[in-house]
Symmetry: D3
Subunit: 227 residues, 6 copies
């Protein structure tokens, strides 16, 4: 009944224009613009400070402690893809290192998001290949049991389908469903424009209490000032 | 019976001279000088390496996943203040970002200590606004339920009263009660002077065993050497 | 029946030539070359990015919250040693700081690996004294209860004997038993040579599936491609 | 772009016959019969030993620290339903207690699965209302912000759609997609029959090595016996 | 500047009548009645199911891995007291066992709340001496370094002063400040009376939506029903 | 260089008389009698309350998520043995269930200690087969990669050699090295006798302060009483 042992070769990726537009915005902005959904758990961290990626998801469901499918997935990666890896159970072994990073980059991939461990941190940082993981761990893995490629997965608490847009930066990782990519990009643009105006007023000493008109609601909720 | 929904506008801050003097010493030194008390849990980490702050506490008690009171608190911040935020229950949502940092800085605040999450890490790092938090998380919050400002709180395991001195650096966050600020600053100065002398002797190859006179106590405790 | 309160002054250290050769390879490489054994838990992290050490182990078994034995151990440290500290129970207090780093370096030690906390992060980073720990914590410790020096320990899940080689970098910490040091160094050299060749082919766009000859085994295991 | 603030009143539930048949089998059996998929994270535990439930999912997506939607969901519960609650971010507040248990039971519900905390453990245990949660926590929640009812959710790492079958016992919680319920029930029946035969042989002293025919594969993998 | 090494022999305990009245209510009820404050972290669990206590706090601040002060505190325990123990840093060693339980009971104490570990679980359960702890751990402790008795502490995230009322049951541990004991007891009584009426209506099939009058507020907040 | 893929068939077990004598004492007593060493981490918990075992260790080193070696080990189990399982990396999958329990019991084994997960909790509890594990988890495992049997392991932080005595009860799991079994049993007997006398005095209201003669040492350490 499960999908194990299957590699789906044909997936529909989000529109390139929407992906490009989303790449201009930060994870926090996109997440807010979408209505505060789609975020992975905050334990997902960049392997080096300033890492940032935005691309279309190729997904992997892997056994714990087994990176066989990460080799299988390499063949399915195309230009602009981000590999997104979920494990069948919690695992922090080092499933990915510098050699796979070299291979993925050669295929055109622009990043890796993995709910497990990675290694070769120094080399990956030097390569500037953006990797977001749950852990850093020199521990190697076996190649013994099948998983799947391009099936729907739950990665770090977020549902991901092949072809969705994945954006990651210092603030975390957000998933934008393929069908909503253009809409999310537009909403991000609008949000950022609005924030630029707010930023100026805050820098000038105005209070959010006034800019956002919160005082009345706070009073209605019962807020009391004591001198 | 609780203090929820209250904003205390008048607080007594620690003496500026004592705050200034404390700002010269590291968290580990102050914590030792005070007799090893006042430290927050070690999960409190700077958002960027080298972040450092020392100021007087304005406190917030907030609902989990709700940053309404961080906007209310902005108005209570004065020059040299550090906002210290505790949540009513454990929470790591991103309650604070670049816009609030802009606002707080405009008010004269010199830092944020928050037992929860923050976001806009890249922007906050670029601004050099010192933030110490439990987590980094793009996840946004609602503005729906009241908490309080300038009430006594327990933040990351440490009791904090409004007006206390809060010092934070790469080693963690320490709270110096307002009434003890001058005394703690003097004790820190004395400790640092003593350590400077010890450092020279250790660098020259002398052993702490001899400098601190430990050999006799160790023998009395039963230490045995085996060749 | 335990070894508490004992300091073994005479230990047999791994061959200097083997230690030197091991120092050329990364932790992930050595761990793989040894057959994926000897790794400490991944919570052991460098205090500053890029920290790296390779030396012979002097071991300490300490009480939680008590760093007395770290002073006793200083006297047992020789040129090229790495102090490896285990606690009798889980503890993250700051057992080590800049003064001990100064002392250890003066004795010729080349690093510290500690299953507990350390402090004075800024100073240790500036000194470039390589430290790998479970936590960063300003919290100080007492000097009240004996432990032991140079007894077999379990540190962060790995068995360590005095004189073993300890290698640590951004990927973690690996222990090479003294008797296997030369063999592990040779195996690491062989592995790295092989990887260099593979890296070139991967960078040129070849797939690991083909380089490693995985396709047949995957098919035998039942992998199916779906278009 | 999100579904917040929506209550879907019409859902398609799994076939009653399949639900009934699944109720005869344990979580471990069903999970294996499905091919080792659909399991929630192991931190989901019964509130009292021996708790067990099997029913059709009504889903809730809630704000952290806010149980308003658990009241809204009560109206959507029918006979044989299990309420499954996910939070928008990690939270362990006590969102559910004895009063809601009374209400849910009155509506015909047969259990609760919640990726958060519950309270009134003594009362819920006495009522024998099966509850599976991440935590036990007296901490109460507010009723201030909307979530949704009967939208697809990710609960404790597992994707759940309204109408899916949820089975929970001392071993954990498994989700059976609505469309696969009958097939999973049949596979569970087959697995249990097979295990009954194996159990007898193992109890008689036969080895799994022989019953499952493992010796040849182990030898092929390189297993060696040393006397 | 700290209070280490001090035993305060004279403390003011909450009124016996208020303590007795509080003993009739559960932790969740009291916590709600007080306005959702005073609760310890949910990791505090009873050593045996059904454990329950209510008494006046005698407090201890102890070193990690050192239970000397638990012997000192025995002498300060009177009839109806609950010993509340905080450690200076996180620690889960087994600081308390059956012998201390025997001693405390002989002194009239009615329970122990400890932010650390305990052992002799079988014996303590058989004695029915109510113990609430962070961990169960056979690991013993030393008696080497002073702490204090009857100073203000932060235990499991909650501020506790000597003489406060501590109530603990299967749902957790709540602290009622001495001065608020009578008021909290009355509020608990009122809350329980109100809940009894609500319980009947819910059991009869009425919905909280109607009993609590939530429908209008939900609609105002934007809740939409979809058929 | 590792021992993977090896099954050592001949091990030397601790003397039966010493094992029998150790079986009379609790884990806390034995751990103290040995000088506070040999204890596993406190996350090792019994699967059912009151579980208790004492036997000679047959050890397994397994891959994460792979229980093949637990079948191999069954053949090596003899009367009075306890299987002790360590994983090569942290893992909580359900590696053991009721069928293996049936098999192990048929071979004469008296318990299982596993630094991973187990399932079939209800059945194992009903069988009264003592199991101590890190987790309960319905998640099944593969049978694909070799580990070893009867090699030295580190299990839950404790070093275990084949033939050592393993004692487990509600307080945790302690390892007694084979060569020290008789000595540890005698020391446990002596400790228990002494505690029986102390218990009577404590129950009569005497204080540990007086029984253990602590008052003088406390005064010397600087303890002060304040009225």
């Amino acid at each position: 009944m499960n999908d194990l042992g299957l590699v789906y070769r044909t997936i529909e990726r989000a529109e390139p224009a929407a992906v490009e537009k989303l790449s201009r915005y930060g994870v926090a902005t996109i997440h807010e613009a979408m209505g505060r959904v789609g975020l992975m758990k905050p334990y997902m961290r960049p392997v080096y400070p300033g890492a940032r990626t935005c691309g279309t998801a190729v997904t992997v469901l892997a056994q714990p402690g087994d990176n066989w499918m990460l080799h299988v997935a390499a063949e399915q990666l195309g230009k602009g893809d981000v590999l997104v890896v979920a494990c069948m159970t919690d695992n922090v072994d080092g499933m990915f290192g510098e050699l796979l990073a070299t291979s993925y980059r050669a295929r055109g991939a622009v990043g890796l998001v993995i709910d497990a461990g990675v290694r070769d941190v120094a080399e990956i940082s030097a390569m500037k290949f953006p990797v977001f993981s749950k852990a850093i761990n020199a521990r190697g893995t076996v190649k013994a049991t099948l998983g799947s490629v391009n099936v729907p997965i739950v990665c770090a608490g977020a549902a991901v389908n092949p072809g969705d847009v994945v954006v990651a930066d210092d603030d975390g990782v957000v998933v934008v469903p393929r069908a909503l990519a253009a809409q999310a990009a537009d909403a991000s643009e609008a949000r950022e424009a609005k924030e630029a105006a707010t930023r100026k007023r805050l820098a000038a000493g105005e209070l959010g209490l006034d800019i956002y008109g919160m005082r009345e609601k706070l009073a209605a909720a019962g807020l009391k000032y004591v001198d």
